[in-house]
């Protein structure tokens, strides 16, 4: 029996062998193999009704967590349901640390009260909002805390005022990823990635005018007036070289190596080694690319606009094992100067900071599917501000 996604097509097996870097031994804090029968994984078939009555049996050590949470995935999905779908907004007091910083695609925020304010704003604009969980990738343990990456689809109708203006009555569906550091039942830091350009488009608003109307973020919060040389190539040298592959597969090495080689070394031929033929890419602002040819075009078009672009992996965790495949969550930053042609219009010579998150599905050592979001609205503000 074949595996999902195109296993039966002539996929060459020759490149699967060697990929392991001796220097990056995955620490337990970074990933989870989900080996045993009571594996803590996100289960799409599971019933929310059942999840709301999960029993009291802990499946995982959770020090300081509310009694009714059985594991970290349960904590993420069910607290989201209680707070954002059932309007239990006050539960945020028990679920966020008082001084939790939040890094959003729409700016940086600070503190629990801000989370409450933003939540109320969102729910006023979309009172019937549902957050449909698509995946939760997590790492960590009950003692030291967890890192989680919750991908979901927001579905709702815009019947109230939003930051984009009066109610439009439109139905929306957009992708979000919430990346959290969780300790003792509380989110200590959060990176919230929302697909704002998709939202603007689905509300039926013109993108350019909407961007112009929004208050431009202070330049320094975007790094635009702190221009320095982007550190990819030192002096007259080359990008950093990577230690040789060691022949044993390591998911962390795959992500770091492929990112560095494709984006920083511009070795786009490596896409053929790291991605399957019918790779499916779900990008920011509703972009989709099917197949390596399209994905390559996407990478090229970004690099063409920001020829000095450098990509840094800020955080990486994963679930899975070699047999079942891996699911990863990667938080990254791209620095670049807008000096080339592309969809963002005439080059502005401004430096941008692109903050992104990517979840991958990896099977047999290669990327099969990917979901990426980045702060595209912020980048447009940065590039178009005052133009």
């Amino acid at each position: 029996m074949t595996d999902a996604k195109g296993e039966a097509v002539g996929r060459d097996e020759t490149k699967q062998q060697a990929r392991k870097d001796a220097q990056t031994v995955p620490s337990p804090a970074r990933g989870s193999e989900n080996g045993d029968a009571r594996a803590v994984i996100f289960d799409r078939g599971l019933d929310i009704g059942k999840m709301l009555r999960p029993g009291t049996e802990r499946r995982q050590s959770l020090r300081g967590f509310d009694e009714d949470y059985v594991d970290i995935v349960d904590y993420i999905v069910r607290s989201t349901y209680k707070i954002w779908e059932q309007h239990g907004i006050g539960l945020i007091y028990g679920h966020y640390k008082h001084n939790a910083p939040q890094h959003g695609t729409d700016g940086n925020w600070y503190g629990r009260d801000q989370v409450i304010a933003n939540t109320i704003q969102m729910q006023a604009a979309f009172p019937d909002l549902r957050l449909i969980a698509d995946d939760v990738v997590w790492a960590g343990n009950g003692t030291e805390g967890f890192t989680t990456s919750h991908r979901c689809t927001l579905v709702g109708r815009n019947t109230g005022y939003s930051i984009f203006g009066p109610p439009t009555g439109r139905q929306i569906a957009l992708r979000s990823v919430y990346h959290c550091v969780v300790r003792q039942n509380r989110v200590c830091e959060e990176w919230a990635f929302n697909d704002e350009l998709s939202l603007i488009r689905q509300l039926g608003l013109p993108i350019r005018e909407t961007v112009d109307k929004l208050t431009p973020p202070p330049l320094d919060s975007l790094g635009a007036d702190t221009v320095g040389q982007i550190e990819r190539v030192r002096g007259q040298g080359t990008p950093d070289t990577l230690p040789p592959e060691t022949g044993r597969f390591d998911i962390e090495d795959l992500v770091r190596r492929s990112t560095h080689e494709v984006w920083n070394w511009r070795l786009l031929n490596k896409i053929n080694d790291y991605y399957v033929e019918n790779f499916l890419f779900h990008g920011a602002s509703g972009r989709e690319a099917y197949g390596r040819g399209n994905y390559t075009a996407y990478v090229l078009s970004l690099l063409a606009m920001f020829p000095d672009a450098a990509v840094y992996v800020d955080d990486l965790h994963w679930n899975g094992n070699e047999r079942d495949g891996y699911r990863t969550a990667v938080r990254w930053t791209l620095l670049g100067t807008h000096t080339g042609p592309g969809v963002y219009g005439e080059p502005t010579n401004r430096q941008i900071q692109m903050n992104g998150i990517t979840q991958h599905l990896v099977r047999e050592g290669r990327y099969v599917e990917e979901w990426t979001l980045f702060n595209e609205l912020q980048i447009l503000q940065q590039l178009l501000c005052g133009r």
Binding site: M1, D43, A133, I207, G291, N294
Partner: protein, 337 residues
Amino acid sequence: MHDFDVESFLRESAQDIWDRKMPGRIPDLYAPHALVHVGTGETLHGDQQLLDRAVQCLAAFPDLHLFIDDTIYARRAATYLTSIRWTAVARNTGPSAYGAATGRRVVVTGITNARIEHGRYVEQWIELGDGDLVRQLGFDEGSVLRRLWPEEAAPEFDEILGRGTVERPGGSAHGDRPPDNNAQADVGALIGASLDAIWNRRQVGEVERFFAPHYRERGPGSRALFGREELQTHIVSLMGAFPDLQVYIDDLFWDGDPQSGARSSTRWTLLGTNTGPSAYGPPTNAFMRLSGITNHRIEEGRFVEGWTAYSELGLARRLARAAPRPHSEETESEAAP
């Protein structure tokens, strides 16, 4: 889960929703965060969106009856992969997404594939002969397209940053593919090898090797092909329209084995650029990504019967979007970002 009967689940769920008019069963039959992909390129998120859509469909076609023509399924660990081939018969007595009620009786065929876990639909792919449906209702395709996707009159904020290329075999990127000596090993190998040879490597004559002389294919809609010659003509005309086309298998399962008889279901994606003339008109240079499902009946190592479903409206939508439009002030500002 031991006594879960997937066959009766498939039949009863279809019967409950459509024939017995109980769309309210959808939250029992689908996981709350189920995904439903429709061939036009749309995805429904969650059981509530699906429920709303099903009720809308019943409002347009209140006497809808769904006949299940065939079911295929396979089990992969705790997951069932299923395929239903169906025919719907109904009278259009209410307003539909395509326009006002026409009172016409329609017969629509389609294929629905699904992934079932914990006794519920978790993901579903619905492909139906929507182009044929629009013709039966007596609507003009162009006006239906404008009605369904009005915003596409103006260019979108690019679908992807760059417009991609289709990877073609034979380049160094692919290396040397192993010969398909074991094409007869199982149904998966047979389908993979035939698709690769005939479609991707343009060895259209290989149809003789993989298809029975009396091969019959139906769909989408009421299209019917009989015999290998007609099949070859069909394949070549598609290649003429999309000279760089490639077909990829997204999922594939089957029951039986190629020699003694098997049934298979293949979910595929076709990529290609419309740089050649075709039945759709002069070249539009549209980059096409079309998804579809083909189910086959296999005997003595050859395809004897096939059913294909994909969204003709979805295809027309892509071609229409790429057609050249006048350069106006308004479209300029939309495209600027």
